[in-house]
Structure formats: C-alpha cells, structure tokens
C-alpha cells in the first residue's frame, strides 16, 4: 500500500462520490418534495450518456453535445412526468416501485433497440485529455478532476438555490409540509414539475460527465441507482446536505475498500485466503456501513424535519 496509490484512490473515491451526489441529489429532491420513489432515475442517467454520445456523433463538439443532451433528457423526463409519474404521486410506494420498474425495463430495452447492445464510448474533449502532475510522481487524469470540480460546483449551486431562492424555500417547505404549502396557494403541481425536471437534468449531467471514462451500455443506470438509494438513505431522505456527505462517504469507502481490502486483510491472514475474502468484504462494505447507520439512526444522518 503505497502513499501515491492512496492519494490517487482517494481522488477516485472523491470523483465517484461526486458522481453519486449528482444522481442522489435529484432522487432525494424528488422523494423529499413529492414522496415519490422513482426507480427510473437511474435510466435517466443512462439516457444522458446515450444522448451525449448521439449528439457528439452528430456535431463533433463536446460542449454542444452536453447542452443538447441535457435539453433532450429534460424533455424526455418531462414527457415521462406528464404521461406516467404525475398519476403516481398519490399512490402508495409499492405501486410507484412497480410502475417505475416497468419504465426501467422499457427504457433499458429501448436503448438496446435504438443504439444496440454493444457498449459505446464518448471521447474526452481534447482540452481536458491527458494527465496532470499533482506532485512529483503522482499523475492524475484531468477529466476526473473536471468531474470532481463540476460536481462540487453543482453542489454549491444547489445549496444556493435551495437555501437562498424563493423556489428553494418552497422546496424546503414542500419537503416537510407539502399540504400546507399547497393550501397557502402555491401551485404544487408546477413546483413538482420544476423539481422533477431539475432532478432529471442532474442525473443526465452525471451520465454525460462519466461517459468518457465509462462504457455507455444498457443497464448502466441500474447499479448506480441502487448506490444512490444507499446514499439518500444514509443521508436522510429529503436532505440535500445529508446526500452530499453520504455520497462522498460512500464514494470514498467503496473505492478505498476495493483497492486496499486485500492488503489490509493480508496483515491478519495468509495471502491466499485474503485474495478470496478481500473482494467479498470490499463489496459488502457500504451495505454494512448503511446497516450500522440505520441501526443507530433509523432515519439517516440528517433526517428532514417533520418526516
């Protein structure tokens, strides 16, 4: 376990955490304000990546592809909201789970039909390709730093939006007292739509940003969706601050666990069993963490008040 590796893996963990935050933020907003479990949030991340690949193939410009993909993802998300989700808000959670599960099946397969089952890729924009020297002997890809930077910028923007603007105030109020907000004359449907559209764009943004370093393939949203759920459960559903802290925590624990589990186990057991047990323990780590958090704080680290 070398120091260089530790730094590089910490940065990787941070990058993963930031990505999770982008997805979890939308999920926790939508859940907090609308009491709506949207399993289809993961496919919106996948759609963002696919749309970016498509628009990049058309234009050859990453920035245009990014903007066009976000706009298209927003339109698709609003279309889904309008045709399906809107009718699910006052149903119970079980029905929401099933209906949005149906949408996952449809879109995962639909993506396969439209773009094929083979993984696609998106090149890193020339400006940000290559590596940067962090300190003598430690190289790090610029694009990953870009992801960290843009994720932190979005987090700051979200913080300002939620805590300083009128819409943000309504979102906070809606998360704890939706009925009263509605009774005070706020068009809650419109608020829902804004929040939902915003969440969709965040997920799509995460998809576009990760596309250059991950293969773009059907079902890529599913595993990330589960992790985003873990994040919002640990952070406390409806809490943006909780989602941010939990996302970074999960990103770091998962990445560092995977890269150092075997080395750490070798301190206490012979190498051969360590190589077998290590990966198993590493993949369990975040779930154990979640279990511990929920055992002591059943509503997460930062429970939204009034829930």
């Amino acid at each position: 376990m070398s120091f260089t590796l530790l730094i590089v893996q910490t940065l990787n963990g941070l990058q993963f955490g930031v990505l999770l935050f982008l997805i979890a933020a939308g999920l926790t907003l939508v859940f907090g304000v609308m009491d709506f479990i949207n399993l289809a949030h993961g496919v919106q991340y996948m759609l963002g990546a696919y749309l970016a690949v498509m628009f990049y193939a058309l234009t050859g410009n990453f920035l245009i592809a990014l903007i066009a993909a976000l706009a298209a993802a927003l339109l698709l998300g609003l279309l889904l909201e309008f045709t399906v989700f809107r009718h699910l808000y006052d149903r119970d959670h079980l029905e929401q789970v099933i209906a949005t599960f149906g949408i996952i099946l449809f879109l995962n397969q639909g993506v396969k039909v439209v773009w094929g089952a083979a993984p696609l890729s998106l090149p890193i924009p020339d400006m940000f390709s290559g590596t940067i020297v962090l300190s003598p002997g430690i190289l790090y890809p610029v694009w990953r730093l870009m992801i960290i930077g843009s994720g932190l910028a979005v987090a700051l923007l979200l913080y300002l939006l939620v805590s300083r603007t009128r819409v943000g105030m309504l979102v906070r109020a809606g998360a704890t007292h939706a009925r009263i907000v509605s009774a005070l004359g706020v068009d809650i449907r419109r608020l829902f739509m804004i929040v939902f559209g915003f969440g969709t764009m965040l997920a799509a943004f995460a998809g576009v940003m990760i596309a250059p370093i991950l293969s773009v393939e059907p079902g890529m949203g599913d595993s990330v969706l589960i992790l985003a759920f873990v994040v919002i459960v640990i952070g406390g559903i409806g809490s943006m601050r909780g989602a941010f802290i939990a996302a970074l925590l999960i990103g770091l624990v998962d990445t560092l666990g995977r890269s150092f589990a075997i080395d750490i186990l070798r301190l206490v057991m012979p190498p051969s069993p360590a190589r077998t047990v290590g990966p198993a323990i590493a993949s369990m780590l975040i779930y154990v963490l979640m279990a511990l958090v929920l055992y002591f704080r059943p509503a997460g680290l930062f429970p939204a008040k009034g829930r």
């Binding site: 079980l94 099933i98 949408i103 759920f229 993949s283 979640m290 279990a291």
Partner: protein
Amino acid sequence: MSLSVTALPRARNYEALPIAIFLVLALAPLAASFGAETYLLGLFTRVMIYGIAALALDFICGYGGLVSFGHAAFVGIGAYTAGIFSAHGITDMAITLPVALIVSALFAWLTGTVCLRTKSVYFIMITLAFGQMIYFVAGSLSPYGGDDGMTLKLRSTLFGFPVLQNDRALYYAVLAFLLVSYLLLRAIVSSRFGRVFRGARDNPTRMATIGYDVFRYQRVAYVIAGCLGGLAGFLLANATEFVSPSFMSWQRSGELIIMVLFGGIGTLHGAIVGAAAFLLLEDMLGGITENWKLIFGPMLVLIVLFARGGLLGLAQSVWERLRRG
C-alpha cells in the same frame, strides 16, 4: 402505508379459488404429457417455485405492510446452499434442506433486526441494499463460479435415493412444498399471531399501546418469509441444476413484487396466480419477440394505473359487472 387490504376475502372465493388452483397444478402434468412434456413440466415447476417465494413475500407485504425489495436474496441463499453442498459432493436433502432453511432464517433474523427498525420507504431501500450485498458476495465467491455461477452435478437425494431425478417426481415434490407453504401461511395469518401481525400493519402505535412488542412479531414473520424464500431457492437450484448470482439480483426481487401485485396483494393464493401469470407472460412475450420487455414494461405501468387489486381483482370486478348486466 395505505395498503387497504381486506383481511380475508369472502368465504366462498377463499375456498373455491385455491382448491381450483391446486387441482389445476396437480393435473397439469397429465395435460403436459400430450404436449412438449419436458418443457411444460419445467415451466410449471418454475411457476410453483416462484409461487412459494411470492407467497412468502405476500405474507409480509400484504398482511404485514412490510414491502421487501430484497426477497430474492433468500432465494439466492437457498439456491447457493444447495449448490455449495453439491460442489462438495453432499446432496442429501436430509442435511442440505435444513441447512438451507437455517441459513436463510439466520440471514432474515440478522437483517430483520436492522431493517425492521426503519419504516416505509426506508424499509424498502434497506431490504434492497441487503439484497444487493448478498448478490455481490455471491458474485465474489470465486471457488463457486463467481459471477458465472455453477452447475449442480446432481439433484438432491433423500437418504441416498435420487428421489428428485425424475422431472415428474420433482414436479410433485415442489407441488407438495407449495401446498404445505400455502397451508402453513394461511394458518399463521388466521392465528392469534397473524392478527397481531395484521394489526401492526394497520396501526403499530395502537398495537404497541395494547402491549404487543410489534418489532418482535414482525421479526418472526420476516424470518418465516425468509425461510420460505430459502426453500424456493433450494428447489430452484434443483430444478435448474444451476445457481448464479443472477438469482438474487434486484431485478429478481422486483419481479417477485410484481408477481404479488399481479395476483392481488394480501390474498396468498393470488401470489401463486401472479407467479403463473408473470412467468407464462414472460414465456409468451419472449416467444413473440426478443424485445419483450418493450411490451412488458408499459404493461406494468398500465396495470398499476388501471388495475388496482391485481388480475384477480380485475377479473372479479369484470365478473361482477357482467352479473349485474
């Protein structure tokens, strides 16, 4: 959670329908012998195995209001117990089945202790997460095939006799397990324990005030459901002679919920109908196009939006409308 489910549907339906279901299942092999026998037997064996798992889920979900999104984990644990024993040459059911049940029960007890402290959506997500945990653990078991899974050398034996080797024998063994599971759960639901469990769904605070330790009742129910899930997994490993982590992916858990919802939640026998409806539909649509999910996905949405109470509920309301003219 506002799952308003009537405790027991009217007496006539409650008896006639389950009897009809089990009669059909008992006679199906005869009908199958006129057609593609191996294929049909295999399909119906799977229907009954998933029926057991769905029954268990319907028990905690419909009667206890505990929506578990990780029920496939128990199926996987049962299947892997059979698989790992078989890999070491131990196939006797007298050993492997009790171990499968005990391991499932232990996992249910441990995770239940954490999960049941949480409510509603937290419960859904934490069960989902534990399901994923087991999924990844199974995928990292490289001695037992890792992500690819492994084939079983031999189906389970009983005291040295290969009692399940014949497909039809396996079919009837599974049917017997299904019947026992169904009767067991029905007895539990209508017992004093079942009334407390249902009361805890409707109003946990009141149940606690009367003096019941709601958590402990729910945990016992969760362990029972986990055990039955393990049983289903054990049978599934025998039926397919193969185990893999995909048995316990979160999509599988979702499919189990779909089965329960298809049949109408909180009816027990509905879960068997739901399992049949799901697997037959999957088989049928899969025969039409490889992109069957493009049809199935929107169907789920439509069922949720327009057919509350599942297929049985839908059939019942259509029937009543016809009778009234």
